[in-house]
Symmetry: C2
Subunit: 600 residues, 2 copies
């Protein structure tokens, strides 16, 4: 009777109180019984020093048996009014562990936990120096020979990597490496970012000229310094380049531009890396304790091996090397591939009056950008969400609160609506011969991105050109042979060609480990990305989290960081905390490291 009178907040707090009581008992693992039989506990570093989803009571029980007595989670509190809808009580929560202040999110059904998210936010002993703890800046009072801020920065730049070793080296100074370095700076973890290009932001600037972000601004904020209110919804690449350059400077990142990493190996005896770099022509060897590859989640470009390639008399390059459409006015261009880059490149070529044919080998998921914003992202990442009180942090945590196993259940109905809403658009594409899909299970864009990082295009205009025939389309075929001035397709068609663009995607990030370290380490670590969903290009077994991303790998002191701006922002916190804890010598026993199932 009193049941119905309780507020959602009371319901959630009561569950947390019961949960805490068991966690603090002699048998904390019995807290698993407070979950549904097939409830989920997703943990970002707080309990496991890993990124891990436990599925079902047995898995939860096992995790608690290994972690609860050490982490001693306590003070579980509902942190703002909980809500109840369709029988699900949702609550934002805070708690503490032995080492850290934590936040989380709870979903209850019939008094049992359906999903629990737990995330480490701050190490108790090493809080970030912000807000009340921000540095004073001026040292009030007078003292002889004080060092100014500028002198301290200059000394650091002079010494770090030379007379003083960084604790961490990040290879790759795109948005991922920069955002992680910003967090490490705030945590006082001496870090150097290695970037091949001359200026921060060049990895954007160097792309084809019409490129804009495909994700909207609310999704794209960097840590600490959000974009201002007038920032464009889809920022042009050079503008993002400028932002990253300025961000790097303002966040006081030790950013070695014009620097190439020529090799790295882990010295088991000294328990540190030996990283060879060439900085502005000078060879330097760095000895960090931790090495992060932030070389782009895309890994190394896939270039297919097609008979006759070597004899082609026109120009051919991978999409990542494509300079834009201007140089190809009036030329005959063949673009192999039908995903994001292929569409963008085809459209830019068409805009420059090239004759362009897209070769679609297999089906592609297409979603209109506006529809993506309205139907998929809008609830968390939009101006409406912001005006409704949604913060970037809360949006990220909400997103993180849904275990990957059940994420398709949330997405499938949304994409059914998408298909209905844009039925005419999809019909016209199919009439033009375009092969469409919504993912193996109809779960759409984001699941495809998580499972395989490919196979889709967020339509910002190119699809209309495909539908209209302005971009010529050959689908269900590939290139069988390359001739000096043409390509022959698998259906026998011959297309004259001055330019061939291979928009054929990228390998796994561990390809970078092979290139920079060696193949043994790449194999020991195994494939990055994907979660074992047993769908196209994401072979099983099920792992439940992205492989090797932002968490310990099978190679000691080697980490992978990357993803889109949203992921880089969100997961850089957890990676930074893992690195900080190791630097400070905290015990960081990793629970639930996965076996390596795939080499690449």
């Amino acid at each position: 009777m009193t049941e119905t009178a309780r507020t959602p907040t009371q319901v959630a707090q009561q569950w947390l109180d019961a949960f805490e009581e068991v966690l603090q008992s002699d048998e904390p693992a019995q807290a698993a019984n407070l979950f549904e039989d097939y409830g989920f506990w997703r943990d970002l570093v707080a309990m496991t020093w890993n990124i891990k989803t436990l599925e079902g009571r047995t898995a939860i029980r096992d995790m608690l048996e290994h972690t609860a007595k050490r982490t001693r989670p306590c003070q579980w509190r509902v942190s703002e009014d909980a809500t109840e809808q369709d029988g699900v009580t949702e609550a934002w929560i805070t708690f503490k562990t032995e080492d850290a202040l934590c936040k989380g999110h709870l979903r209850l059904r019939d008094g049992q936990a359906w999903t629990l998210l737990t995330t480490m936010q701050e190490l108790k002993a090493f809080p970030e120096k912000r807000n009340f703890l921000r540095p004073k800046g001026a040292q009030h009072g007078a003292s002889k020979s004080r060092q100014t801020w500028l002198e301290a920065r200059q000394e650091e730049e002079r010494e770090l990597g030379y007379s003083r070793q960084p604790y961490c080296v990040i290879i790759g100074g795109g948005q991922g490496g920069i955002g992680l370095a910003a967090r490490l700076r705030q945590l006082d973890v001496p870090t150097i970012v290695i970037e091949r290009n001359p200026r921060a932001g060049d990895s954007w600037r160097n792309r084809y000229k019409s490129l804009c972000l495909h994700d909207p601004v609310w999704y794209d904020h960097m840590p600490y310094l959000p974009f201002p209110e007038h920032w464009p919804v889809f920022a042009p690449k050079d503008k993002i380049g400028d932002w990253l350059e300025m961000y790097t400077r303002i966040m006081e990142i030790n950013y070695w531009s014009s620097t190439e990493c020529t090799g790295a190996r882990f010295d088991d005896d000294r328990q540190e890396w030996v990283v060879d770099v060439v900085r502005d022509g000078e060879r330097i060897t760095l000895h960090p304790k931790q090495l992060v590859l932030a070389t782009g989640m895309s890994g190394i470009p896939n270039i297919p091996d097609i008979p006759g390639m070597e004899c082609f008399e026109g120009e051919q390059h991978h999409s990542s090397k494509h300079p834009g459409g201007e140089a190809y006015r009036g030329k005959k261009c063949v673009v192999l591939g039908a995903n994001n880059s292929a569409h963008d490149i085809c459209a830019a070529l068409w805009e420059n009056d090239a004759d362009v044919t897209m070769i679609q080998r297999s089906s592609t998921h297409i979603i209109k950008s506006d529809t993506l914003m309205d139907r998929v992202l809008g609830g968390l990442y939009s101006e409406e969400a912001v005006q409704g009180g949604m913060t970037t942090e809360k949006a990220d945590l909400t997103f993180a609160s849904i275990p990957f196993r059940i994420m398709p259940d949330f997405h499938i109905p949304v994409y059914q609506q998408v298909a209905e809403q844009d039925a005419d658009f999809y019909r016209r594409l199919e009439e033009a011969g375009f092969m469409l899909d919504f993912g193996d299970d109809g779960s759409g864009l984001f699941m495809k991105y998580l499972r395989r990082g490919s196979g889709y295009y967020i339509d910002v205009g190119a699809s209309e050109l495909v539908a209209s025939g302005d971009i010529k389309l050959k689908s269900g075929v590939s290139i069988e042979r390359i001739n000096p001035r043409s390509v022959t397709l698998t259906d026998g068609t011959e297309l004259p060609a001055d330019l061939i663009v291979y928009a054929t995607g990228f390998g796994s990030m561990n390809g970078w480990a092979a290139r920079i370290i060696n193949q043994n380490v790449a194999d020991k670590v195994g494939k990055c990305w994907g979660m074992g969903s047993d769908t196209t290009k994401d072979p099983g077994p099920w792992e439940g989290e992205l492989r090797n991303m932002w968490k310990p790998t099978r190679q000691e002191a080697l980490w992978f960081h990357g993803g889109n701006l949203h992921q880089s922002r969100h997961y850089s916190l957890y990676l930074a905390l893992q690195l900080k804890a190791r630097k400070e010598g905290l015990k960081t026993p990793v629970y639930g490291m996965e076996e390596v199932h795939h080499l690449a």
Copy 2:
């Protein structure tokens, strides 16, 4: 009876309803009767196209007679819960005029208005493109030969000032000019900022090396892009320099660095300025419609004319040219002056083992930085205020809501507490011979700043050195004569000197008008800053607002912008709106232009 039952919000709304009814009647000026006999209405552009405080019913009535039928203010609403304390009901309000969306603040006593603040926030016809109106960035859909963001920026840089004239030229690219230019950019007012130094931020970088902001971070935010949460409380000068450089780039300001303005004149026939500049050695003439001097509120350095100066064999310079203490190790240094710069320079010299004597000619107001933060600024500008929900905008408007006439009444009791709290500190300074004051009427720092822009030091450590005698002090004297290697004071003392620093302040900003335009225009405009309080260095008659700042002057199309970071941020909005309105050809009849009473 029902009186006591009404909430403060109801009380305020009821007043606003009555106010609106009279304003919309045939005799809107009768709305003055809803004020106390000596109530105040402070208007920032909304009613008067001026910055103006009306004091008393008669003044308010006159203003309404001239403005109400044109501006037609309406829809006066309490915008969040009003409060009541000590018999004063306070409310945040919104309203609209014919041209603009406006905000304000109201204080009622016994049902009558004690103070009303009205501020223009946005021109209805020209809203800023932010939040829901932010640009899309990517132009979705394909079109031949579209221009990218980078190409558009490059074209603008190539053309503006050459083949296309800016509407506005701002002379001076410090924080004031930069912040104003950022607002004008958002309002689509083509603007060029002229700055002598090579890089934005150099006006800070070039100062003495230990300089940090004397105001805390919460007070110092620039428009649109607040400092991040880990920004130091008192930012070091080079860090602020970097921020300004980054800000200038990110806000897409047309910033002509390494450019000097060699002269300007207003062409009455063409109704535009002729501004001669030398940009990187090249002579260019600009023809803007509006000219803003943002050359620093300090104006041109005052250097006293002392017999013997020309024969001095050591080094002598104004404080604004002082390079820092390092070069003067072991030297005998005399610093003339006892305000902020004098203290900072003396401390830096002492830190570098110079022998330093401060010459205090007249009394100085000293307040410890910590005390200033705790007692004076903390309620509006502090981490506590932020955590309590105070925003920068609301803090600025709260500050603006207090008419200058009665501001001393608010400050005097605070400074009495300051004097008590730090009694021991002040006693030790006086024992060292230092001449202290709290302003003519005991109203302390900020009133001194507003009245004369000088006569104080925010103590960040130098006072302790004065009290201890580490900085030697000669007070109540000046320099009578300068000898080749010494100075002779008015009390006959002779001090050996290798260096003389003239920390003797600055002239009025209209000195810049004299230098850049001509003396006639400078005299026509008259003195800048100060409000006619009839206190030391702020001669009457009373004007009630800072002279010539951020508002129309007696020289058509000439504007002065400046002040500390707080003022630059806050008033740049109103100046930007005045310029935008003129650009768009809105009618902007100025009410209540003051007579010129002082030439400098």
